[in-house]
Symmetry: C2
Subunit: 229 residues, 2 copies
DNA sequence: ACAAATTTAGACACTCTTGTCTAATTCGTC
DNA sequence: GACGAATTAGACAAGAGTGTCTAAATTTGT
């Protein structure tokens, strides 16, 4: 006979599926309408459950909101660390590899559904839940930025780059590769793939002009060659 | 005798003062609480007027919101163009002058009350009023970015910089000098003055590593000297 | 000080939303 | 097929907010 100790939560399976569906819909509605404007009936309708089920799972609107932010932070962090793992530690073509990394970071972590939602919730409700977003700050930028900085430090140590402060370089890298997407981000939109690639390409090229080894022949060749594009 | 043609609007003077006060308070409350969460009674209380006066001036909540965004856009644009006018066209110390410009831009246009409010309103309600924020996009980034790009183009023409695409350079300049303020911006906070200066300094330094004339003796001296700071 | 316009406080109807409750129904498991 | 747990639909009370209205009080210009 099968013991029902299957997952880690006591209630059966369909339960978790509904929980997920609720959190997903809630994320979308909270983003669209803001916390105050979000309507529990609408969330229920979009999740395909009854309103009462939401109250059974989460208690009240505020607890639901907290659960949404926690979930999003967790999933986004997982995505970011998975992407950081693809950082080019021993690049064959430094420029192309960094562009690839930047594009992956954008597509998988910042422009995808979860990233977009989390960003907007932080922007709109961050001041209302200081402790919740302090937690995000520690778990998010507080852990991912140093991780990226460490990768750049390794590249510098390997002789691929000339960097004084890896933390500054990491933040500037992110600022550069997203430089052309700011307006789109502001309005809550998702940039098209070619816009992401374009911004990353321009950003990485400038980054390497600042931090790349100047004497590298390939990089010099590449730069003059690409200047015509 | 004095003709009452004084300003450009028919009603007396105190009228305009109240209008301003209402719009200011409304901006603050809309930002804090979001459109749906904003309470007209609260706006009235903060503005020191009665609720009815708000309805007399603006009709309803939505019209009030539109008026707020229009006002903020106008004031911010004015500030940005005033600051762009201080761009160093013939710099004595390129690095210091660009840092000064970046700091002014941040302090006067982005981190001040109006800039902070406008940014947040765009982020939170941008999707709800597409035409209103399309207008902002045209009047804001659509006009200020090219203006900044033109200044950089002039610097390049004057031999101070090596730039292929001034538009790209301008956007990257903004991305770089704000690279370290992103998290603060996200949470709706205002960075301290020293943070603004720090971010601008690091950003401009990297910008000049990428686009500055390498042969310039002063800039080379400065860079090595500042590396110790 | 007078007259017109504006502002105010308060009451009001109306709508919308949250969160609770109940009884009926469905689902998963044995 | 039967049992128990979970889900559902709907009604419901309580509260909050918008926008209107009125009569009184205040400001403004002359």
């Amino acid at each position: 006979m099968k013991l029902h100790v299957s997952p880690d939560t006591f209630p059966p399976r369909g339960h978790e599926a509904k929980r997920l569906s609720i959190v997903d819909s809630a994320a979308a509605v909270f983003c669209r309408e803001g916390f105050a404007g979000a309507n529990i009936d609408l969330i229920a309708a979009e999740a395909g459950v009854s309103r009462q089920t939401i109250y059974n799972h989460h208690g009240d609107k505020e607890k639901l909101f907290v659960a949404v932010v926690r979930d999003l932070t967790e999933r986004c962090n997982a995505g970011i660390f998975a992407t950081i793992a693809t950082f080019p530690d021993q690049p064959k073509d430094l420029e192309a590899d960094l562009i690839g990394f930047a594009v992956r970071l954008n597509q998988n972590c910042i422009c995808n559904r979860d990233g977009k939602f989390l960003r907007k919730l932080i922007q709109t409700e961050g001041e209302r839940y200081p402790e919740l977003f302090a937690e995000w700050r520690e778990q998010g930028p507080g852990r991912t930025w140093p991780a990226i900085a460490a990768r750049f430090a390794r590249l510098a140590y390997g002789g691929y780059l000339t960097i004084e402060d890896p933390d500054v370089a990491a933040r500037q890298f992110l600022g550069l590769v997203n430089a052309e997407l700011q307006t789109t981000f502001m309005l809550g939109g998702s940039p098209r793939e070619d816009e992401v690639v374009q911004s990353a390409t321009n950003g990485v090229r400038t980054f390497l002009r600042a931090f790349g080894k100047r004497r590298s022949v390939t990089s010099a060749e590449k730069q003059s060659a690409l200047a015509n594009a």
